[in-house]
Amino acid sequence: MNLQLKIWRQQNAGSKGKMVDYSISGVESDMSFLEMLDVLNESLINKGEEPIAFDHDCREGICGSCSLMINGEPHGPDRLITACQLHMRKFKDGDTIVIEPFRAKAFPVIKDLIIDRTAFDRIHQAGGYISVNTSGNTVDANAIPIDKHKADEAMDAATCIGCGACVAACKNASAMLFTSAKVAQFALLPQGRVEATERVQNMVRQMDLEGFGNCTNTGACEVECPKGISLENIARMNREYLMATSKG
């Protein structure tokens, strides 16, 4: 099939970017979206132009590198997948596809479609862990039984891949779903309860410092999350935060 592409090009963080039009032919329906971009890049290189820079690594939907806004939706029109798992059979001959980077003040563009998501790392650094040293003599793994439903719920929250689609989809560029997923995972496990108060306060403080917007409960993040992380995590984080704050 033949496609028209409108792609954001920006040389570096300091320069001004713009949308550039490309056309591409010979796209096959069983190509992945990124393979379609590979084909385009190959033709650009052969013409002596710089290829389009985009983040990608595992190409199987788990590393969270993909950060493409495709036709106005993070990771494109399909649900519960990342852009690398999106296949061209979702498009048809003659379509125009608009490709932009995930946009947020806290995610500045580095080049073309590549953005800086270290804000997520800093939120995580503020408390997204349980403070245990490596010793080899912690208690036996089966010493504390954990309710299967709680463990499963914690696992569902923990599947976040940190791609930033939640921020990209949110009209306010809020990072609440990302932050809450980590807070909720640990809030649900007995091991994580010990530091629950400090964790939620520190992570929320860092999240606010990074310049993300505020949550207005539109639910866009949940719909666009490639791992289907639930809004319930945000409610849980709000609850944890209020409890932590009332404790002082």
Binding site: E100, R103, A106, N172, M176, G211, C215, N217, M237, E240
Partner: protein
Amino acid sequence: MSALIKSSIARKVVMALSGLFLVLFLLLHLSINLSSVISPETFNQWSHFMGYNPLVQYLMQPILIAGVVVHFVMGIVLELQNNRARAVKYAQFKGSANASWVSRNMIITGLVVLAFLGLHFYDFWIHEMAYKYVEVNPQDPTRYYAETVEKFEPIWRTVIYVVSFALLSMHLWHGFASSFQSMGLNNKYTPNIKKFTKIYALIVPLGFVFIALYHHLNPLTH
């Protein structure tokens, strides 16, 4: 405390609590107004009570005004912050793919309702304040019904009324249930809260619209 109010979550809770307070007030307001359709006497009695009871006037009225002010000031502050959080906008953003129009446009519905409140204050509250405290007129427990019905005589005001309440309905449609999520309540009751929200968001504004239309269609006979 200042740290608390600076956090995004605390601000959301303030929005939720003030919003829920206004939701409750709306119900009270509607019940009093409905009495104007059923019995002008009851309406006058209620209105007079609300206008002259010291508890209502000096405690509840300031709280209500504070609630409105907090809700809209905070709403605007948050909106400005949210705008700043995405400095460069998307060339294409398909918000409708993942969220409802009402949830994405609370600022529009909210500002329209706010503008309406301006008119409403001008029509009733400023008039009352002038009547009672500036002109220092004597108490007249029978004047309210006629004053109210008179307001709905011009078609433009009735239309503004109807449109504003349609937008209020949209505002409630998202805001009511959303406030529970903001306060951390998302559990097995959530589907019911959402259902109740929809009923409330339809019935209450419809009630106000009905009253406005009723009085417009049944003007006072001079």
